[in-house]
Each structure stands twice: as structure tokens, then as C-alpha cells.
């Protein structure tokens, strides 16, 4: 059972590494979006450090949104999604492996380059720690929520904009708690409470979302 999980993750990672642009494009998009804000709002460091958490989180949200379409699309087109359904392993389990692979490919790179952006937006070191922590805990929730949206829209020809319509409202709490944690950290307050709230949401999402994703895929494929 566990071997299958690892195998699915590895397969997805290997397939992605063959098309490197698919991994790199969302990251470039993320960097460019963040760069636009100082250009549009001016370079006042106090202003930038104040808006930084919101900007980075919104950019991460949009970058994740762009990459979601790939999550099930190829497997849907070449029929391997149907194969997955017929396999003796529970669909929710296999799907979690795919989401994990997707998170490793899209959100982890964002986490890795976030120090660079923190410098761009003159974020303080304490706030930066909080930001990395919220990104680490928050982006998996985003991936799980997004996977539900993708699973619902994968069979549709024009699923892209619809995906953002159904997914963005649901990701608002993550945005709110993450930016509040960073703001608290920036003003020298304790931000552990927000991080724990995010962690609780992550636990909830990990337990519930795979079943929703599996149910949604069954709808899309039948």
C-alpha cells in the first residue's frame, strides 16, 4: 500500500522533470507578480514590508492556480486516471500521492525562493520566518483544495477560469491566517496561535480532501 503511494509520487516527479518548463513557469510567474508590486506602488521600504505578506501569499495563490490545471489533465487525457480508478487501491490514497507530488513540484520551489522575495520586499527577519512557516503549512492546504477544484473541472473543456472561481473563495481563510501570522511576527507579537490554526486546517484538509477529490474524479470521468 505504501509502496504504491511512493511509486505514484516518483512517477509524477519523473514525468515532470522531463518537461522542465512546466515546473519553472509557475515559479517565474510568481517572481514576476511579486516584482510588479514595488513597480506599481513605489519602493518605500516601510510600505513594502507592510504589504509583503499579502503580496507574496496572493502571488503564491495565483501561481498555484496556474499550475493546477496540469494536476490531472494529462492523466485524464491519456486515460491513466481511469486505470487508477480500476486499480485495487483506494482512489483517495492514490490521489493523495498525486497531490503530494504536485506540491513538491510547485509549492516547494516557491518556498525555496521566498528568501529572495523577502529581500525584494524588505521583509524583516522575524516576519520572514513566520512567512516561511505559513507557506510551509498553508500551501499543502491550497494544493488539496485546488485538487478538489481540478477534479471537478477536469472533464470540462474550459475549466481554467471556473477552477479559480470555485477555488479562490475557499482559500480565503488560509490567506487571512497566514498574513495575520506574518503581521503579528513583524510587530514582534506571538504568532504561534495562527500557525497552529493553519496546522489544524491542514490536518482537516489531509483527512477530508482526498475523499472529496476521489468523489469529484468519479463524477468527472463517468
Amino acid at each position: 500500500m505504501f509502496n504504491v503511494f511512493i511509486q505514484v509520487v516518483r512517477q509524477d516527479l519523473l514525468a515532470a522533470f522531463r518537461h522542465q518548463s512546466a515546473i519553472l513557469n509557475p515559479i517565474w510567474f510568481f517572481i514576476i507578480v511579486v516584482t510588479l508590486f514595488p513597480l506599481g506602488l513605489g519602493t518605500d521600504p516601510t510600505l513594502l514590508s507592510r504589504i509583503a505578506p499579502g503580496v507574496i501569499w496572493v502571488a503564491a495563490l495565483l501561481a498555484a492556480l496556474l499550475s493546477f490545471e496540469r494536476l490531472f489533465k494529462d492523466d485524464y487525457i491519456d486515460g491513466s486516471l481511469e486505470q487508477m480508478m480500476l486499480s485495487p487501491y483506494p482512489l483517495a490514497w492514490l490521489v493523495s500521492a498525486k497531490v503530494l507530488a504536485h506540491w513538491l513540484l510547485t509549492s516547494l520551489p516557491i518556498l525555496i525562493i521566498s528568501p529572495l522575495l523577502a529581500i525584494f520586499l524588505s521583509l524583516q527577519i522575524d516576519a520572514f520566518y513566520a512567512l516561511s512557516l505559513t507557506l510551509l503549512i498553508g500551501t499543502p492546504i491550497l494544493s488539496l483544495l485546488g485538487a478538489i477544484g481540478v477534479a471537478l473541472t477536469v472533464g470540462l473543456r474550459k475549466g481554467g477560469i471556473l477552477l479559480s472561481l470555485i477555488m479562490l473563495p475557499l482559500s480565503i481563510p488560509i490567506l487571512i491566517f497566514s498574513t495575520m501570522a506574518v503581521e503579528a511576527a513583524a510587530s514582534g507579537q506571538d504568532y504561534l496561535g495562527f500557525v497552529l490554526l493553519l496546522a489544524a486546517m491542514l490536518v482537516g484538509a489531509i483527512t477530508l480532501a482526498p475523499f472529496a477529490i476521489a468523489a469529484a474524479l468519479r463524477v468527472s470521468i463517468s
Binding site: L145, I148, L152, T153, G155, L156, K158, G159, L162, L165, I166, L168, P169, L170, I172, P173, I176, F177, M180, M201, G204, L208, A212, A215, A216, V219, S220, S222
Partner: protein, 248 residues
């Protein structure tokens, strides 16, 4: 309970049952609406702080409450539909979503029109208005998803799944928005939250809430019948219905 019914007869029976119930809902709606609105607009005393602008409460509060109630209805219907595979329940989800969206829009708009004289701005990021706005987004997402599928059976099931995902999320959204609001606005506006409301003001409010609720029921039944007709349009009972209408 539904198993013994013939699968084709089920839709026809529900159509007839909904048709029988509809007039009752209308009978309950119209008098309570008329009495409530006349009483609220003309007879209830003006609020000592807000003057006559408080009369917006008679649509704002019922619309906001029933927008939530509509979502709860959808969530229950979605649960029933997905767990027991009752397609009729999934149709009820699709039938309710637009009504809930309209109620949410009314609550938002009247909230803004009330906020302008009270707060001096059409829009403030008040916790209640903000979560109402997000509720509208969620409704629009469900409606858009439903309309995107050409196969309405799949559409109903997809919308049901999204409704259930939303019902887990909505309390979290509301909670997070309230928290975010208290942190961002030093002094929260509590003008909406009157500690106690005079009886002469409360009775028309309750009547309006009642009439909004029964109207919600009426519209759900009406749109549910539309869904049934749409999906079963090739079945004999719909054909018979159409022919009867053409003759009559």
C-alpha cells in the same frame, strides 16, 4: 423508503407533490409579506438612534438569514444526494443555489444602502458584510460549475460535492473573517447589534423573516419542478403534461 417507488415514477410523483405544496407556501408568503412590510415601513416606530433608516432591517436581516438557510438546505440535500444517491436531492441543490445567490445579493446591497447613512460609506470591511460577500462568491462558484456541465446529472453531482466542500469551509471563513476584522478595525461597528429590540419593531421583522422563508420554499419547489422537467423532457409523463397544456 424511496426504494419501493418505481425509478421513473419517482420524478413524476415528486413533480406532482411539489405542485401540490406550492400553493400552500404562497398562501403563507403573501399575507405575512404584506402585513410585515406595511407594518415595518409605516407603523413601526422610528429607531431613536438611526431614525427611519433602520427600516432597511426588514429586508436586510431576513435576506441574510435566509441566504444562510438556503445554503444549509443545499448542504443537507447534497449530503442526501451523494450518500443515498438520490438524484432528486441533487436537483434540489441546483434549484436552490440561484435563490440563495439572489438573497445574498439582497443582503449585501441593503447592507451597503444601510451602511451609507450610518457609517458614511457604502462599503466598510465589516465582518458580516465581508463573509456575506464570500458567501456570494461561493454561490456563484456552485452555479457556474453547475452550468458548465452539459450533462445535468453529472452537473448536479459536481455541484453537490462543491456544496459539501463549501459547508465545511464556510464556518472557517466566517470565523477567520471575524477575527481578521477585529484585528484590523480597532473599534468594531456595533450599530447593527442592538442589545434589545422593541416589540413593535420585532413582530414585523419576524413576519418578514417568515415570509422570506416561505418564499424560499416556494421558489425552491418551482425551480425544482423546472429541473425535473428539463431532465425528464423525453419521458412520457412530461410529454403528456405538455400535450395536456396545449389542449387546455
Amino acid at each position: 423508503m424511496l426504494k419501493w417507488l418505481h425509478p421513473y415514477a419517482k420524478a413524476e410523483h415528486s413533480y406532482a407533490l411539489a405542485g401540490k405544496l406550492m400553493p400552500w407556501f404562497l398562501i403563507l408568503t403573501i399575507p405575512s409579506f404584506l402585513v410585515g412590510i406595511v407594518w415595518g415601513l409605516a407603523f413601526a416606530p422610528a429607531d431613536y438612534q438611526q431614525g427611519d433608516s433602520f427600516r432597511i432591517i426588514y429586508i436586510h436581516v431576513p435576506a441574510a438569514m435566509m441566504a444562510m438557510a438556503a445554503y444549509s438546505t443545499m448542504a443537507i440535500a447534497a449530503f442526501v444526494g451523494l450518500v443515498w444517491q438520490v438524484r432528486l436531492a441533487e436537483m434540489a441543490v441546483a434549484a436552490t443555489a440561484p435563490i440563495g445567490a439572489v438573497y445574498t445579493f439582497i443582503a449585501l446591497f441593503t447592507g451597503a444602502a444601510w451602511g451609507k447613512p450610518m457609517w458614511g460609506a457604502w462599503w466598510v470591511w465589516d465582518a458580516r458584510l465581508t463573509s456575506e460577500l464570500i458567501l456570494l462568491f461561493v454561490y456563484m462558484g456552485i452555479i457556474a460549475l453547475y452550468n458548465a456541465f452539459s450533462d445535468k446529472v453529472l452537473a448536479g453531482r459536481a455541484a453537490s460535492i462543491l456544496t459539501l466542500v463549501g459547508v465545511i469551509n464556510l464556518p472557517i471563513i466566517h470565523f477567520s473573517v471575524v477575527w481578521w476584522n477585529t484585528l484590523h478595525q480597532g473599534a468594531t461597528i456595533t450599530k447593527f447589534e442592538q442589545p434589545s429590540i422593541a416589540t413593535e419593531m420585532l413582530i414585523p421583522l419576524l413576519m418578514m423573516i417568515f415570509s422570506f422563508a416561505t418564499f424560499l420554499g416556494f421558489m425552491i419547489l418551482y425551480r425544482f419542478r423546472n429541473e425535473l422537467l428539463q431532465r425528464e423532457q423525453h419521458r412520457a409523463w412530461v410529454v403528456k403534461l405538455v400535450q395536456a397544456k396545449q389542449r387546455g
